[in-house]
Symmetry: C2
Subunit: 134 residues, 2 copies
DNA sequence: CGGCATCCGGAACGATACTG
DNA sequence: CAGTATCGTTCCGGATGCCG
């Protein structure tokens, strides 16, 4: 299974190094970084900065994500302590997702990153055109 | 080909929307976000904050990356205007990679993100343990 | 409504060998 | 030293169908 799958049995970690240095191959923070920086993880986290979202609303907000990937992404982020999942036992069921304190801090960095990219999209497009022209 | 492959022919962009909103499916900044937030892209950019690096040194710094992926990652980041590639025409060849102004701004955000994750690794590990216990 | 199980094609990735 | 070429494997992620 994918490492994005929260249900996957984590490999035995033959020698789980606890040093917090992402540059080290076996650092525990690396897989977490991949999860929050993943294709949909970034967008889900940043979307949730606007406040609590329900599943369907979040799916509409993150344009192009499939049901399956949203579900997987949310589970992974919940497992990593980035978001909180609150279930209303009603019919039909209600589920609300909110950022944890940690998730909010992470989302803020990601929002900053996105802002930089969006406001420099012209520079980037120009660089791409130049690269291909050569 | 992979969208991480800088040589890949970009799809014809049937209707290239220029709005800078990553939440929109066809926003131009989305693929760029994926590149800089990719598994190796993040580490390469943050590593380069320490100064210019040569290929081999960067490979040693980013523990676990293969030659192939480092090469691809650097080309993609160069194409997107994040890094600059300077070739010394000597024997043996010398190639130095440095961050562009844009790349430095992006790398700073990513470094902040990594710092948050590293300094909260205990919280994260606890959340993961709790999630699996249930 | 908010999921989960299954299938499956294509994309990403790693190992290795080779080159200027 | 700094890559490229090729190959084989893994895994992401979309589509579909079912359930409480």
């Amino acid at each position: 299974m994918s490492n994005l799958d929260p249900m996957s049995t984590r490999q035995p970690d033959p020698d789980p190094i606890l040093e917090a240095d992402v540059f080290a191959r076996d650092c525990a923070s690396r897989p977490v970084l991949q999860n929050v920086a993943s294709r949909w993880g970034v967008l889900a986290l940043v979307a949730l900065r606007a406040g609590p979202y329900r599943f369907s609303a979040l799916r509409r907000r993150v344009d192009g994500i499939s049901e399956r990937m949203l579900s997987q992404t949310l589970q992974t982020l919940e497992r990593d302590g980035m978001i909180h999942r609150e279930v209303q036992q009603t019919i039909p069921p209600h589920v609300e997702y909110t950022l944890t304190e940690l998730g909010a801090a992470v989302a803020e960095q990601l929002a900053g990153l996105i802002h930089i990219l969006e406001s420099n999209i012209d520079t980037i497009t120009a660089a791409q055109a130049e690269y291909h022209r050569e």
